[in-house]
Amino acid sequence: MRTVVSVLVSGLSRIGLWGRGVVVAVPYLWLMLFFLVPFLIVFGISFSESIIAQPPYSSLVEWLTDEDAGTSKLQILLNISNYFRLGGDDLYILAYLNSLKIAAVTTLLCLAIGYPMAYAIAKADPARRGPLMMLVILPFWTSFLIRIYAWIGILKGNGVISNLLEWAGITSGPVEILYSDWAVYIGMTYCYLPFMVLPLYSTLEKMDPSLLEAAADLGSRPFRSFLQITLPLSLPGIVAGSLLVFIPAVGEFVTPELLGGPDTLMIGRVLWNEFFANRDWPVASAVAIALLLVLVVPIMIFQHVQGKQAEAGR
């Protein structure tokens, strides 16, 4: 009886530790199963062949039994032609380069609009900062799709901009901005702007204003103080914001599909078409793996920055 009690007591005292284990294990296992394993499967299927079957790809591993000889062997077939196809076809290479270009332009536009905004908010009266930031974040809460949709009505021929230009007498006849790279830039900048302003604001807000006062006392002009003090100090925010915009922008699908023209090639669109239109799952997987390879370095920098910020916040 006594042993039972002592086992119970020691068991109970271990619940603390055990509970801790559960708290880590549940999200850990979830992410392993639904985030890590799927990548391994995508990697595997990128080496298989497209066949007409359900599911439409060949199995990599096969267990062959030879009845007569009484032997069996494991056969692993790796088909690397999907990757050769990516490297050999201009379509894919162009799509990759174009995606990087569009993401880079979007990032720069977000920075150009977002930096002054973040700076102005960080300099505003402390009581006003909260509501001003709230106004930046609010559009992010409304549907992404709806915000892209809003721009269709603005950019199309006979749309708001076109009518305004015509009314002002600048143009005669409808102006079509929709279905071009510029429409994609505008739409993506619009959607990703809050992601740029947020990290910029949080680094600028933490900056010590006495540094700028000291520089001014020593005779530095405001512009020079900005270049030599504010800009370098806000670099972590610039990096975090740029990555937060750039990485998802490279793989963007919805915006180029709705606002871009048929020649606005982006890798997310190529992947989508391989999967849904051509039903070629192995090539779609190879495109995904190649996209990940392009993004692996930016993602690692992002995680490094993110980790540093979490450390600093503690």
Binding site: L31, P38, S143, L193, G268, A284
Partner: protein, 277 residues
């Protein structure tokens, strides 16, 4: 500082850029003409048509179900993850864990969608579950990518919070579970609400991942909107968008008022405690 210098103009431009498109969207939802961008008179007929659009209503209902369930799951998982990352110090596999939590924040949606679909197909072959794709698979997919956002929100709240309250409770002999439920949970409650709302909105917003992992008969609202927008703009979508913006704005407004009130209450309590102590 100058009253209306470059910075003020930049701020004004930024807000105009953010809000004018939404404002126009709302204005044209009351337009009588089928040509969305040509004003011909005030009308609410598109809202009337919306109510009778069964495809849209069914999809909206499904989306709300998926969003509610996945946001709840995401808050449970994300809170555990945020707690583990801020309060448990170093543990085996922490780096991998941290990486898996932050990566979905920036992962392109097409990759998340494709990889989850291939997982579901492979699982169906190996273990026979999930049987086909539909609401369950969409919910799992949404939980997976929204829990990262929740974890980040919880993490930043926990990191900015004073740990001494928890330590004091521990010193007074409270077990870790009790400390969590009595001290930590009430303190991070605003972050839980914010995380849930964020996960809910993200789920309600997703078209790419859902397109990959949905099956026949499980079409979500964004999927319906996406396919109709591809065929061009229609005043009905404007009306729907206006309603969605209205719901979101009301939700945020109410949530921020409630949270501000709680924060004031907490400050007052602290003040009282200091005065009495």
């Amino acid at each position: 500082m100058k009253r209306f210098g470059f910075l003020s103009w930049a701020l004004l431009f930024g807000y105009a850029f953010l809000y004018v498109p939404i404002a126009l969207l709302i204005v044209f939802s009351f337009n009588e003409s089928r040509l969305v961008t040509v004003w011909s008179g005030f009308s609410t007929k598109w809202y009337g048509e919306l109510i009778h659009n069964d495809t849209l209503l069914d999809a909206a209902l499904l989306s709300f179900q998926v969003a509610a369930v996945s946001a709840t799951l995401a808050v449970l998982l994300g809170t555990c993850a945020g707690l583990a990352l801020t309060r448990f110090g170093r543990f085996r596999g922490r780096t991998l864990f941290g990486g898996m939590i932050t990566a979905p924040l920036v992962m392109p949606e097409v990759i998340t969608g494709l990889s989850l679909l291939l997982l579901f197909v492979a699982m169906e072959q190996w273990v026979g579950w999930p049987d086909g794709r539909g609401v369950t698979t969409i919910t799992i997919a949404h939980t997976t990518f929204t829990m990262s956002y929740v974890a980040v929100v919880i993490q930043s709240r926990l990191a900015g919070m004073d740990g001494s309250l928890e330590e004091a409770a521990m010193d007074l002999g409270a077990r870790p579970a009790k400390v969590f439920f009595v001290i930590t949970l009430p303190l991070i409650a605003p972050a839980l609400v914010a995380g849930w709302l964020l996960a809910f909105t993200l789920s309600l917003d997703d078209v790419v991942v859902a397109s990959f992992v949905s099956g026949p008969g499980s079409t979500t609202l964004p999927m319906v909107i996406f396919s109709s927008v591809k065929f061009g703009i229609s005043p009905q979508i404007n009306a729907l968008a206006t309603l969605m913006v209205l719901v979101v704005a009301t939700g945020i407004f109410v949530a921020s008022i409630v949270m501000a009130r709680q924060e004031r209450q907490r400050k007052r309590d602290e003040q009282m405690a200091i005065q009495n102590g």
